[in-house]
Symmetry: C2
Subunit: 362 residues, 2 copies
DNA sequence: GGAATGATGGGATACGGTTTCCGCACCGAT
DNA sequence: ATCGGTGCGGAAACCGTATCCCATCATTCC
């Protein structure tokens, strides 16, 4: 009698408690609950009643240990506060929930140490995949580091997914979900050029950030295509935040005040830029045009509403999860297929009210 | 020899693989890794070398089953996209990480079914706590539903934390972390009243949302305190989004155009309101003043910068996690203490540039 | 009517660690 | 030289669930 814990103990009820109280075997309870085995109606009722009485829930840890268990994906992000992140997360979480999967979230705060620690933590958790979000710094180490992550996760039966980051070179077991970053910048810059702008202040972001590099490259290509000389003196690097947008414009107004448009690397940067222009007594877009990138809700809430590049963040999240799920279904059949492990989603310009032909010094 | 899986198998390495390869017992490996038992230097080196060679990580599920395991908290939210949420989540996640805890995230999408399903899912996961975020709908059922959650989680050794929701009545095992919602609204409305505004358009939010009710109540109290009649005709309910702010102001300009200020229930609503005013040819704040609530980054990025009520979202997240951690440390010593299970954080008005004395129809 | 067949339920074992209990070896002391 | 103590490593018992394998019983077919 004192062999096991008494049924009415402090902690949570176990499957054994249920079995005992229902007068059936542990196996039967498990079958009733997972429902993947024929069970008589009588048994089902008996068990379910006790389950309700005891308010029993299965122990997820034990369940995954024994083989079953709900798949879990981990989302790792630098800063959970960014709007773009929120939408990717929404896409991932939504798609995960749809399949009964769980999502874990971790923030790295731009710290490689923490990134490593988190990846290991997730490996311990036996997650189906680790989804790494956001642009990466283009240090030489990046490729090696990610390749190590990818192999390590792969060896543990998990998988690495890079969202909005550059793909990995070589034969690395990772999936990349990307958007046409450079193409969007190209289109956006073209939009300004075709409106007649020639002197454009460019605020692409941090010079080492891959996202910023792509956006800058796209802009340069557009200038080339239009045969307009690109002035490196009109490029100012800095973080993707409001203050940088403000300060960069403020400084530019002193040093190179002949620009007629601002090509911001982010909607938030554009917001800062607009504010700085206004503080200097300039009107947007009558005196200076401003465009952003990302198309977060803020873009349509500014005055004037911001012309920007739409990035399908939420869909990227969904696609990332689908890729993981597919690969898991597909099993070992279609492994090593280079197809399907680098997905690129399109971007497009959303025209609103922040662009006009140059009028100030035109 | 074929008794177990071969050491170099497909799946992840087990502790047994490590033990075998290091020529020691399983127990020794466990001790080296958890470090809570004296181990000779020689043994430690031997084990750690193999651990690195095999890139071994312990199985978190097995670990928690056996007693150890990293505590996990679950954050449940209606809509992951809201900026306020992001900051609470940041607070929770940051504090969790600081202690080596993990955070799960789930979204309910305002669906009670999903909320129930998620709470049960989290119960299965054996989370240390479930943190429920955001205002709740004041249906009669709310109290019962939450009380059931609280007891159910408590019985499973977990705990319910309500953040930004009304506290539970009676002796329910739950913790509430709240902010002085009504007080903030009172202060904000007072700010407008003392600037001379008498006809104020109030957009508190959905009528059934507890958050909205508190904000409306605070405004009303301020009017009473100033001896100014409060006109219910100037109150318009609706969701906390940009469009509602826009449409409510648009409609009010037709029906009751004599208001000189807008008291929005949210910064985002305020943004919509400002846009609508501008579209109608009115200047902010010269013709109409606008104030918000929440103090999300958007508030300082609008033009003009928004006067609003600061809510310490991130700190609320930290406080919520600390409450859970404390209770877990404290153990059974200080249970049932009514103190500590309802924490209220202060709010205050942040004055920016969106308020002026009434000038239009003075 | 007996045997083959299918539908169910029970017992035992595996999953991957942690932890308690033991025993062994080595140390100094008498 | 023997004894007692101490420090460290090993064997085994769990943690809670899923599942494989077998026993049982009712059903149906020959």
């Amino acid at each position: 009698m004192s062999q096991r814990k008494a049924t009415s103990d402090a902690g949570r009820a176990t499957i054994r408690d249920v079995a005992e109280r229902a007068g059936v075997s542990v196996a039967s309870v498990s079958r009733v609950l997972s429902g993947n085995y024929p069970v008589s109606e009588e048994l089902r009722r008996r068990v379910m009643k006790v389950v309700r009485d005891l308010d029993y829930v299965t122990n997820a840890h034990a369940r995954s240990l024994a083989g079953g268990g709900t798949p879990t994906v981990a989302i790792l992000i630098n800063n959970i506060t960014g709007a773009a992140f929120a939408h990717v997360a929404k896409g991932v979480e939504g798609a995960a929930t749809l399949r009964g999967w769980l999502s874990l979230v971790g923030t790295t705060g731009d710290d490689p140490e923490r990134e490593l620690a988190l990846v290991n933590l997730m490996r311990q958790q036996g997650v189906a995949a680790v989804i790494l979000l956001g642009g990466a710094y283009d240090y030489d180490e990046y490729q090696l580091r990610m390749a190590r992550f990818a192999r390590s996760l792969d060896a543990a039966g998990s998988h690495l997914v890079l969202v909005g980051r550059p793909p990995l070179e070589g034969d690395v077991p990772a999936t990349t979900v990307d958007y046409d970053n450079e193409g969007g910048a190209y289109a956006m810059a073209s939009h300004l050029l075709s409106a007649g702008h020639r002197r454009v202040l460019v605020l692409p972001g941090h010079a080492e950030l891959t996202t910023a590099q792509g956006r800058l490259r796209g802009a340069q290509r557009a200038f080339e295509a239009y045969g307009v000389p690109f002035d490196p003196g009109l490029v100012r690097h800095g973080p993707y935040d409001y203050d940088h947008g403000y300060e960069a414009v403020e400084a530019a107004l002193h040093e190179t005040p002949d620009f007629t448009a601002v090509l911001a690397g982010t909607d938030v940067v554009a917001a800062g830029a607009m504010q700085a222009l206004r503080a200097a007594g300039l009107r947007v877009p009558e005196d200076v045009s401003v465009v952003g990138y990302d198309d977060i809700p803020l873009a349509s809430q500014l005055t004037p509403q911001l012309t920007t590049v739409h990035v399908p963040y939420e869909e990227m999240g969904r696609v990332a999860l689908r890729a993981v799920a597919d690969r898991r279904e597909g099993g070992a059949g279609r492994r090593k297929g280079a197809d399907g492990d680098h997905l690129i989603l399109g971007t497009h310009v959303v025209v609103r009210n922040s662009v006009q032909p140059p009028g100030r010094r035109g």
